[in-house]
């Protein structure tokens, strides 16, 4: 999959930008705070309908404007059509081939991206929330069914939590409708068990790819991915078995939940563990091993997306090349050359072994303007 061109109007510090891209490697060079990450952010937004940074949509609109537009032509093996996102202070609109798509969930999947930024080390070292976000956003791009279950689960969770919050306590006992709570439980279980089932199988696929990449980079080490959910659930469990265990856990925690007024068990608490030679990477591995793991996961993701969707995603590398040593730079570039359209940012080309990149297209970024080399 390729992004042929990009047009920005009042996006961040870009007043107006029209640029055509190479199908191989696009290098964005510039000093700090010139708009390199902003450009990757625009591409990511065109892909996912949201920013990869924790920013509000309205922060993306240029300070002196009321609305922003991102549009670009995408090209796959079978089609070629424009995508467009219009961001206004009151909301956003997404268009596929000039037609408005009413649900963001139907929009996602038109342009698949994998983003690799220095913060990605958090994937290995950070909190479980970081990894859940990773799992959900990657799998949602590969499977519209996963995204569907995820959105339904979030709604069911919001409803159930709101009901728990609304329950009044009279004389030290909660007054609630047993039947209604069981309906809310069942909605949560229906979508939650589907998510757990899908995560097991998708993580297994991801692991197979990650292990191969990781072995190629490290030569000897064995990487394993381990999905952590209900202790008695494993990759052989059927959806019925998962549902039953989920239900038991909800009943077991009922009093606690009534007291805490929120849902304490379910896939929104799950985690993913990375192990090298049986040891947990987050706590026991060296910085180098952690970087290699994060890199392997991203590269595995690229292969997996190709497998699941039939197309390579586009790759966004924000300031990461300079963080990798020569060996890992070579591994990474070997991997992506000639197959994955890539956008990489760097402060200067001297950080990168130029000989490694075949035929790069180079752009200089200065104060929201792109100059073609």
């Amino acid at each position: 999959m390729f992004l042929n061109n990009l047009r920005l109007v009042n996006f961040r510090n870009y007043k107006e930008l029209n640029v055509a891209f190479s199908h191989s490697i696009n290098v964005l060079i510039g000093n700090n705070a010139q708009g390199k990450t902003n450009l990757l952010e625009a591409i990511y937004f065109l892909s996912m309908g949201r920013s990869h940074r924790d920013s509000n949509d309205r922060d993306l609109i240029n300070w002196s404007a009321k609305s922003a537009v991102i549009s670009g032509e995408i090209e796959s093996r079978t089609a070629r059509y424009p995508l467009e996102v219009r961001i206004e202070k009151g909301g956003k609109r997404v268009l596929v081939n000039h037609l408005t798509e009413n649900r963001l969930s139907d929009y996602i999947g038109n342009l698949n991206t994998v983003l690799f930024a220095p913060e990605d080390l958090e994937l290995v070292k950070g909190s479980p929330g970081v990894r859940r976000k990773f799992i959900d956003s990657e799998f949602a791009q590969m499977s519209s069914n996963y995204l569907f279950n995820l959105l339904q689960y979030r709604n069911a969770l919001k409803d159930r939590n709101a009901y728990l919050k609304n329950i009044k306590w009279v004389a030290n006992s909660p007054k609630f409708d047993e039947t209604y709570l069981s309906v809310l439980d069942d909605q949560l279980i229906k979508f939650g068990s589907a998510i757990i089932l899908q995560r097991f199988s998708l993580i297994q696929t991801l692991e197979a790819y990650a292990r191969e990449v990781h072995l190629a980079i490290s030569k000897i080490e064995e990487l394993k991915l381990c999905y952590i959910t209900f202790p008695t659930v494993n990759e052989q469990s059927s959806q019925e078995e998962i549902s039953e265990i989920f239900k038991k856990q909800l009943l077991k925690n009922r009093n606690r939940e009534l007291f805490l007024k929120s849902t304490s068990v379910g896939p929104h608490h799950d985690d993913l563990k990375f192990l090298i030679n049986g040891k947990e990477v987050g706590s026991f591995a060296s910085q180098g091993q952690q970087r290699t793991t994060a890199l392997s996961i991203r590269l595995a993701e690229i292969e997996m997306m190709k497998f699941e969707t039939g197309e390579y995603p586009i790759l966004l590398l924000d300031d990461v090349l300079s963080e990798l040593d020569g060996k890992r730079q070579t591994q990474l570039l070997d991997f992506i050359q000639d197959k994955v359209q890539t956008f990489l940012t760097t402060a200067s080309l001297s950080d990168i072994d130029k000989g490694l990149i075949k035929d790069p297209k180079i752009y200089h970024v200065k104060d929201g303007v792109l100059i073609n080399d």
Partner: protein, 201 residues
Amino acid sequence: MQYPDAIAKLIESYSKLPGIGRKTATRLAFYTLGMSEEDVSNFSESLKASKSDLTFCQVCGFITSKSDNPCVICSDPSRDQSKIFVVEDSQDEMAIESTHDYHGLYHVLNGVLSPMAGRGPEDINVSSLITRLSDHPEVKEVIIGLNASTEGEATTLYLGRLIKPAGIKVTRLALGLSMGTNVNYADQLTLTQAVNGRTEI
């Protein structure tokens, strides 16, 4: 310079209606000034009557005039007394009535369960439905026709769980493609439901 009291109050009243801002309210108020004496008094009578003459049917919850309580449908012995059609509001009941294909009774919940909006089982017209069913063993089927939203879905499941143990048949409206929809234009939620609710031909 201020508008005279009477107009100012009229503008204020109009702007309480949904979708009507200050400008439109002002336009409507001035339009009202140009209306005939008779039209204006009919208008104000109807406005008043909407509060003073209307109430919810004590049996089914449908909007009805105070002099017709129970409502026309509940008092009509020719309606099929073995079926009750559960709807969210009176407008939905009117929509079903206008198909002329259903001849049973109704029950209007006047809302659906929505924890996010702070509406639990005690805030909608459910307990009167349960009382009604236990008082009327001749009811053999309850048809649930709520909106195909998460809240409508939860309310449907909830009613099913309350009513089924009493041995009454509970059915729901089919979910899926609307007439004239192309399969490839339907969104995913609709398609999933249409596939799950497929019927044999």
